[in-house]
């Protein structure tokens, strides 16, 4: 298993090594420090940035966009996915189309979102929603299909009502796949919102990162990258932790 102490130490060692390499390359001047400020300087900058009201405000803007898009896309996508999976006709018609839609890079639609919504909250939420919903629909369909027909027959033969079948068979069967879906959707969602902010925006953390890049403020840029990475990893790990707690029975 991945939990043994030895593996954990090795992982920490890899991360430390990356930071050390970064520090050395910059300090020794092998890579121009203006291009790659040292790890310690960048981390110090991160601390400083977190004190700034403007940065905190940008983070808040981004967080609200991400959450809004997520809260809209996940239930709606789950509902559509469920209906598709439960209805043969719907499934036959919609499934190939969804695969088509899923294969198109979503970013090419970003200019249209700007034209329709203008630059602002609605555009970014809309684009985040659009980036997320297809993966939610597809994962939910997969989750419904992971419900075993034998289990449904068992429930029926012991006289389960529709609600009992939903809560005692569908839900526990689907839970592991649904949590996985939630985790992956957040990655798509965050990517969508950040991209929209970097492309055209007046605020938000993505906009901030893009500005630092354009102005060649490498310390700030790297600090921003580290911050967003940590937030994304933390969310991901939280869901994974819930996943392992809920699906210990999966072998």
């Amino acid at each position: 298993m991945s939990g043994t102490l030895g593996f954990k130490l090795a992982r920490v060692a890899v991360v430390v090594a990356v930071f050390l390499l970064w520090e050395t390359l910059s300090r020794t001047g092998i890579v121009n420090p203006r291009l790659l400020p040292s790890a310690s300087d960048s981390l110090a900058m991160l601390g400083e940035l977190l004190q700034r009201a403007s940065v905190r405000n940008d983070l808040l803007v981004t967080a609200s966009e991400v959450l809004t898009a997520f809260i809209l896309a996940v239930p709606l996508g789950a509902l559509i996915g469920f209906l598709i999976a439960e209805n043969r006709y719907f499934a036959d018609v919609a499934k190939p189309l969804l695969f088509f839609a899923f294969s198109i890079p979503k970013s090419i639609f970003l200019p249209m979102f700007i034209l329709v919504f203008g630059v602002g909250f609605a555009e970014k939420v809309g684009y985040g929603f659009f980036s997320t919903i297809f993966i939610v629909i597809m994962s939910t369909t997969a989750a419904v299909e992971s419900v075993k027909i034998e289990h449904l027959t068992v429930a029926r033969s012991y006289g389960a009502t529709t609600a009992q079948t939903a809560f005692r068979v569908y839900l526990p069967s689907m839970l592991p796949v649904l949590l996985e879906a939630l985790r992956i959707s957040m990655i798509f969602n965050l990517t969508g919102v950040m991209l929209a902010e970097m492309y055209a925006s007046r605020n938000g953390f993505g906009h901030q990162i893009a500005t630092w890049g354009e102005n060649f403020q490498m310390k700030q840029l790297l600090a921003g990258v580290v911050m967003i990475s940590v937030i994304a990893i933390a969310f991901n790990e939280l869901i994974r932790w819930i996943e392992t707690r809920c699906s210990h029975w999966r072998t």
């Binding site: 034998e150 289990h151 033969s157 999966r250």
Partner: protein
Amino acid sequence: MQPLANITPLKPASRAGAVEIRGVGQVFKTSTQDVTALEDVSMEVKPGRFVVLVGPSGCGKSTLLMMMAGLRQQTSGTVLINGAPIPKPDPNRVGVVFQEASLFPWLTAEENIEFPLTLRGTPKVERRAKAQDALKLVGLDGFGKRHPHELSGGMKQRVSIARGLVQDPPVLLMDEPFAALDEQTRMTMGDELLRIWAATGKTVVFVTHSLTEAVYLADEVVVMSARPGRIVDHLTVSLPRPRTYEMLSGDVFGSLRDRIWRHIRKSA
């Protein structure tokens, strides 16, 4: 108020555990053609008997069992359990043990066994007590807290049997319950099932592809033919009980198995 004791019961108690199939037919309508899965099937199982259904693959054994369980409605004819029709599943009359590992993997063994009781809102204490009794009956005392993936194939089917019996229905239906087990486990499970059957006095209708298993377990063997599914023979196994391993090599056993095999070879 009239004293309830004076009211004559509608169904005589002697019908409890009786399974009657009269002129049953089943036609499946598919997009290409109509499949006659069963045609004019009639049989009667007396209370407390162990009856085994055999027949070539696709002859409608599972379909017939589903009808007895109220999971499927026949296109024609009558199915009576305890002397009454079974328009929908009724766990008080019929317990079902399925082919594959049909246990819920997210529940422990005892929670799986309690499942039918949970659906009816039985209080937890009562549920637990009944599950413990059922676990003991199937020889799994002390394994209640394990999840299905922590149990062997044979143990899983023991849990399934316990789940089928937990509401104490007079009839137990089993669709190839031991098909996925290795030969040795299968033999042991056969003996275990006979022990449980003797202890509980249930009516058992059991489907299998193994002729040895059929003759070893049964009071009566019902042989079916395919396309359309019909009953071609109904024989009584007169071997004494308890059945023993030595009987397998005896003449009575051999001739019964041959007789069944000839029917199946003809119709396959």
